[in-house]
């Protein structure tokens, strides 16, 4: 296992994606001629092995979506590097190649599909953008292939997005992401807008596609049981910082960071007897505003174990057991 966030950087052939010291700040107007920096992602490093699924969890506003987006260079990162398959993503040529090989599936299957385009055109857009098909016939064949791959009826290719249910729309979004034959897909809350019975269908499909096509996923979601199910490793974020990163079973069973501990204890267990036994650690208060991140450790204002040191310096990620990283002074 790699993921050595604070060591000097070296490309690792086992990793498909390596992110080092990624920062994404947004200027926010706070009054007349006044701006502040919103630190959506502040110094986050991790890597994703070839063929694995890395889960990214955290509460709303913690920066998990921003990590996905700035990794794919949908925003220009304020600082930090992204390495893909041993190459630094930098410059026009590298970016163009990277954008074909890395794709994204969005959360909202309603607003992420253009209502004026037919399913065929939506699915084929990456093909057209990257000129991946020589002829019209080849393009059509590819569309049919992609629709079959995600379990859509190929006869529906000329329909518009509004004619489909939420689950089917998400399948269209996935077909579009697969169109450019990517190796890496960022799945940003791909099932949270779907009903439970449909959720399971889409999760199973993502798993099948991964083994069929050898894909690597970054799976962003707030539903921890779903992330635990699909991921090999899980990273936890809070207020733009990464708090903990560990193999999925290890993180859910033996969380080390106080934030992860309370997060895990808050997940409702769908079993009445287990639920009665559950010891909830209810956090006090709300998440602080990302414009006013506390000094030192961002979690200290809600942490029961906070000490003076937590106020002084922001703890760095360190390996507390093989493959298990956490950023806390008190572990």
């Amino acid at each position: 296992m790699t993921a050595m966030p604070n060591k000097s950087f070296a490309p690792d052939p086992a990793c498909l994606v390596q992110v080092s010291h990624l920062k994404q700040y947004f200027p926010i107007s706070t009054g007349f001629l006044k701006t502040a920096q919103l630190k959506a992602v502040d110094d986050v490093s991790f890597d994703i092995l070839k063929g694995e699924t890395l889960g990214l969890v955290g509460e709303s506003g913690c920066g998990k979506t921003t990590v996905g987006r700035s990794m794919l260079q949908l925003y220009k990162p304020t600082a930090g590097d992204v390495w893909f398959d041993g190459q630094k993503v930098e410059g026009k040529e590298a970016l163009r190649a990277f954008r074909r090989r890395a794709q994204m599936v969005f959360q909202d299957p309603y607003s992420s599909l253009n209502p004026r385009m037919t399913v065929a055109d939506i699915v084929a857009e990456p093909i057209d953008v990257h000129h991946l098909c020589e002829s019209k016939k080849e393009r059509e064949e590819r569309i049919r292939e992609l629709m079959t791959l995600v379990g859509l009826n190929t006869e529906h290719a000329t329909r518009y997005a509004h004619e489909f249910s939420g689950g089917q729309r998400q399948r269209i979004g996935i077909a579009r992401a697969l169109a450019s034959k990517p190796e890496f897909i960022v799945c940003d809350e791909p099932v949270s807008a779907l009903d439970v019975s449909i959720q399971a269908q889409v999760i199973n499909m993502l798993e099948d596609l991964q083994s069929q096509l050898g894909l690597t996923y970054l799976f962003i979601a707030h539903d921890i049981s779903v992330v635990k199910h699909i991921s090999n490793r899980i990273a936890v974020m809070y207020l733009g910082h990464m708090m903990e990163l560990a193999p999925a079973n290890e993180l859910t069973r033996h969380p080390q960071h106080p934030y992860t501990v309370s997060l895990m204890s808050a997940v409702p267990i769908p079993d009445p007897r287990e639920s009665r036994k559950q010891q909830r650690i209810v956090l006090q208060g709300d998440v602080p505003s990302p414009l006013k991140v506390p000094s030192g450790c961002p979690f200290r204002t809600r942490c029961s174990r906070a000490t003076a040191a937590c106020k002084e310096t922001c703890p760095a990620m360190r390996e507390i057991s093989p493959g298990h990283f956490a950023a806390c002074h008190n572990i």
Partner: protein, 339 residues
């Protein structure tokens, strides 16, 4: 006698393309001081059930037939004026999205006072005191200051607390919570659920918890109803349904949620197909087209509810076929078979 008794409720929306039967023959009862969960997918009729009880259905929706009795008093067919005395006073509701259910142009205090003054004979000053007291009760710090703030100045969790304060200001007998924590993060959800349970114990009210999250049901509900396409699949105590599900839809739901306690990667078993179109409800069991064990009769005739345990009813032909159900409530000591 139960506090709330709903019998064979039918609520429809009369749209230009036809009648949408949102609630299609629903019956249940709620005892004093109990927490009842209603679980189902979107479009299963859970929210419409809540709106029917409070009669806040908007056109073209209306109650077609059935009875809703509150403390023995029939609510269906009451005039708007009569229902207003109960709504917000005896039965109140909190909605899913606290941002859209609070008025952005009035202060929190203004909206709380309005609810209190409408239902009690407190004057403005007394209502203000009550508003501060309620905000303190739901765990909002510095309530004297908050009362002058607007909804946009509060976080999602805070807004939901304000909604709860407003719903509880008149000490209702029943609180209907329509997906109160769906828009919130898990740590805030834990805070709100804990608060609701604590207030329920202190004030002795009953709660109807509408949710799609089996975890929420398991953690706070005494009883539950599983709804599909406007009807009841099964209802009973939470333990009975979780440990002895007697309907294929419930079994399917439980198999399709990931289990956190699994160490090995287990494949989920989804329910195949998509929910039915409420404009064209088939004659038989509404779940039959998606059910793996559907028989001929399931497609032909709609099953009615039979007793399958001491505190457990289910509407599934499979139970009739297996002789696992009764016309009348089983005697004390009847043990349900383990799933």
């Amino acid at each position: 006698m139960s506090m709330l008794e709903v019998k064979d409720l039918h609520t429809s929306f009369f749209t230009p393309s036809g009648e949408v039967k949102a609630v299609n023959g629903l019956s249940f009862s709620l005892e004093k001081g109990k927490v009842l969960g209603i679980v189902g997918e979107s479009g299963s009729g859970k929210s419409v059930t809540a709106y029917s009880i409070l009669q806040i259905l908007t056109s073209p929706g209306r109650i077609v037939s059935g009875s809703i009795k509150f403390n023995g008093e029939e609510l269906v067919g009451k005039s708007e004026e009569e229902i207003r005395r109960i709504r917000g006073n005896k039965i109140s509701i909190i909605f899913q999205d606290p941002m859209t259910s609070l008025n952005p142009t009035f202060t929190i205090g203004n909206q709380l006072r309005e609810a209190i003054m409408l239902h009690t004979d407190r004057d403005r000053r007394q209502a203000n005191e009550r508003a501060v007291e309620m905000l303190r009760l739901v765990g909002i710090s510095e309530p004297e200051k908050r009362i002058h703030q607007y909804a946009y100045e509060l976080s999602g969790g805070m807004r939901q607390r304000v909604m709860i304060a407003m719903a509880l200001a008149c000490e209702p007998d029943i609180l209907i919570a329509d997906e109160p924590t769906t828009a919130l993060d898990v740590t805030i959800q834990a805070q709100i659920l804990e608060l609701m349970l604590q207030l329920q114990k202190e004030l002795g009210m009953a709660i109807i918890m509408i949710t799609h999250d089996m975890g929420v049901i398991a953690s706070i509900c005494d009883e539950m109803i599983v709804m599909y396409a406007g009807g009841v699949c099964e209802r009973g105590t939470t333990d009975a349904i979780f440990y002895h599900p007697m309907h294929e839809y419930t079994r399917g739901l439980m198999r399709s949620i990931p289990d956190m306690s699994d160490d090995e990667k287990v494949r989920l078993i989804p329910i195949t197909g998509t929910p039915i179109d409420l404009l064209h409800i088939p004659p038989g069991c509404p779940f039959a087209p998606r059910c793996d064990r559907a028989m001929k009769i399931c497609l032909r005739e709609k099953p009615r509810e039979y007793w399958v345990g001491r505190n457990h009813l289910s509407a599934c032909w499979m139970n009739v076929k297996n002789n696992a159900c009764f016309e009348t409530r089983p005697e004390e000591g009847y043990e349900e078979a383990e799933e």
